[in-house]
């Protein structure tokens, strides 16, 4: 008999970056209202972002970020949704769910609304199985199990650090693909959650993502993007590659698949192309870098792993472009800021106040 999925309402924060408005929250109200939200307002700080009534939230604009981090604020992107990682840093909760403001509640093939948050919680509270691929996907889902041939010694699994959800309607394509297939919609509902095997990298999308802050939080830095930077739309990708290397090293799991959200807005492919085009070239070097990256035995905390990785970025990717030198420094700044705002836990800290 399936147990009810816990709400985790005092253990999970919802982080939302926004530059426009938060109208989308109305559709999510039945699912999000129990939770505390951290809103990271990008762009013009003098603009007032109206939060619908009845939500418990704290909101940070650029002035707040500068005030709280001082000179370390340089690591937080401006004019890019990468700024959301500031929300991860200031949260006092164990879990983060982050979602874009153009993502709505999707329906499953039976027409029922999908409670994305509940599915993420199921994913993250059950173990992952990265060391051996299970052909029936997540063996911890109701109605599934490990198949014949799956070694018993590996069936306990490892803790799940990340739950990566997907999107119906507008798929997360890069600009060239969008230009070639402007009308393609993702209509295929794939009823599966699976662990991404150890040693395999993936493109992590930040639109519909949950992670365990205690297990992997410091690695969820979304990089230097947007204003003043040569690249955009690679924030979540960068974080995903760092996160996967570190999860593999620390014996943590990353799941992908359900839940689906409904992605409503197709961004302008020409604007996207301008943001991405350097990334499209650079990723050809970046991917082999991450595929070959190894961390030392001495790196046993996420922060230690991340700092080691930043040194390797500086050493190996700077020759690709001076941007990576800056990024490596920003990675260190991020960890310093993270540790300052997240001292070792002794007592439970209260949420920040709403603005």
């Amino acid at each position: 008999m399936a147990e009810a999925t816990p709400l985790l309402k005092d253990e999970l924060d919802i982080v939302i970056p926004t530059i426009r408005n938060l109208d989308f929250l109305e559709m999510w109200r039945p699912y999000f209202q129990p939770y505390h939200m951290i809103i990271v307002q990008d762009g013009d700080p003098s603009k007032v972002i109206k939060v619908p009534e009845g939500f418990d939230y704290e909101l940070y604009n650029r002035n707040d970020i500068n005030k709280i981090l001082g000179p370390k604020a340089s690591c937080i992107s401006f004019k890019d949704s990468a700024c959301r990682c500031f929300g991860y840093m200031v949260s006092k909760k164990k879990y983060i769910f982050t979602i874009d403001d153009d993502c709505f509640v999707a329906k499953d093939p039976s027409g029922k609304e999908i409670n994305a948050l509940s599915q993420h919680i199921k994913n993250i509270l059950s173990p992952s199985s990265p060391y051996f691929f299970n052909t029936l996907y997540d063996p911890f889902r109701e109605g599934a199990d490990y198949v014949r041939g799956y070694p018993f010694s590996l069936r306990e699994g490892v803790p799940t650090a990340v739950s990566h959800g997907l999107w119906l309607n507008i798929p997360d394509y890069d600009a060239p693909t969008q230009l070639v297939k402007p009308l393609e919609k993702n209509t295929r509902y794939v009823d599966a959650v699976m662990t991404i095997p150890k040693g395999t990298l993936f493109p992590m999308c930040g639109m519909n993502l949950t992670f365990d802050r205690d297990l992997i939080g410091p690695a969820m830095y979304f990089g230097l993007m947007g204003d003043g930077q040569p690249i955009g739309r690679y924030d979540d990708m960068w974080a995903g590659w760092c996160v996967k290397v570190i999860c593999d090293h620390l014996g943590l799991g990353v799941k992908t698949g359900l839940p689906y959200i409904w992605h409503s807005k197709a961004s302008n492919p020409f604007v996207n192309l301008k943001k991405e085009y350097k990334g499209i070239f650079w990723q050809e070097e970046i991917i082999p870098f991450f595929q070959a990256a190894t961390l030392s035995k001495e790196a046993i905390t996420v922060q230690q792993c991340y700092i080691e990785l930043s040194k390797q970025v500086k050493e190996k990717l700077s020759k690709l472009d001076p941007y990576f030198d800056k990024l490596a420094d920003a990675m260190v700044t991020w960890i310093e800021a993270w540790d300052e705002l997240n001292p070792p836990k002794k007592t439970k800290l209260p949420n920040g106040t709403a603005k």
Binding site: R148, G149, P151, R188, V190, L201, F202, C205
Partner: protein, 350 residues
Amino acid sequence: MSHPIIKDDEVDIVVAAIQPDLTSFMEEWRPIFCRFHLIIVKDPDLQKELIIPEGFNMDLYTKSDMDRVSTSILFTGYSCRYFGYLVSKKKYIVAVDDDCIPAKDGKGFLFDVVAQHISNLRLPATPFFFNTLYDPFQKGADFVRGYPFSLRNGVKCAISCGLWLNLADYDAPTQALKPGERNARYVDAVLTVPLKAMMPLSGINVAFNREVIGPALFPGLHLAGEGKQRWETVEDIWCGMCAKLVCDHLGLGVKSGVPYVWRNDRGDAIETLKKEWLGMKLMEEVVPFFQSVRLPRTAVVAEDCVLEIAAMVKEKLGPVDPLFGQAADAMVEWVRLWKAVESASPTPGA
């Protein structure tokens, strides 16, 4: 980008007859199998005559055929299908257990297992980087943002592992613990199993490119007292792990997912549990072994890879259990047989 068309006459359907009366099995599959050439291999342990309905383009192989070719390889039980793989003259093979029938969609239409397997084999695999929208070559899908462009051509897909509705391919303890559990979840996806990821390659519903990977699908690991239930075997799991290693080494892909077959209830998991249950114990030994195998650059075809793996199995796993030593010998004999059969009558177009 266009991908090669696979013609019907390039495909053999191989069926291992473990039970004598294939009438209902063949009739269920007739709409899908009728276009193809079939190879039916009779389990050498089966005493009764086979009953096979008319109207199929097929060849039947029995114990006497197998004895003529080799007396050292055990082609008993489910392993008799490998004889079918050996003698096939086609480029692609689709194999289905004789307790499986076509699965149906919500409207009652049959899922065309052969067409889906062929599509999986025809379209490239993408083992080097995980695509979160699964097979990017499926209609309505593509590579997602962040997928390196240099990896988007993909590699040849050598093996397509299908799945099962109703009776899933669980081991005996799992099925015994959950006697009522049946797989009702149809997951509408096929994906490439990433490079270096180990997997349990079930032989119940599988297809492969015989030309590139045939020698790596062999009858090797036979358990003492191995029965006629899949719960009582690991032969497919064993060669599947070897085959995955070979694919990883040769830059070939392995896909898993659709198509589904409907697997009929059969056997009693608890009865199986009562037997001495060696299979799972052996699996525990092999994981560290497979994680450590490195094949030399000089091994450039499947036959060479299998011989290398056999030597390593003999050396490292032989001392653990004599069954591994026997498996290694069987692998060597299999490659010898394969080469002999190929040179006697080469596959057209090879």
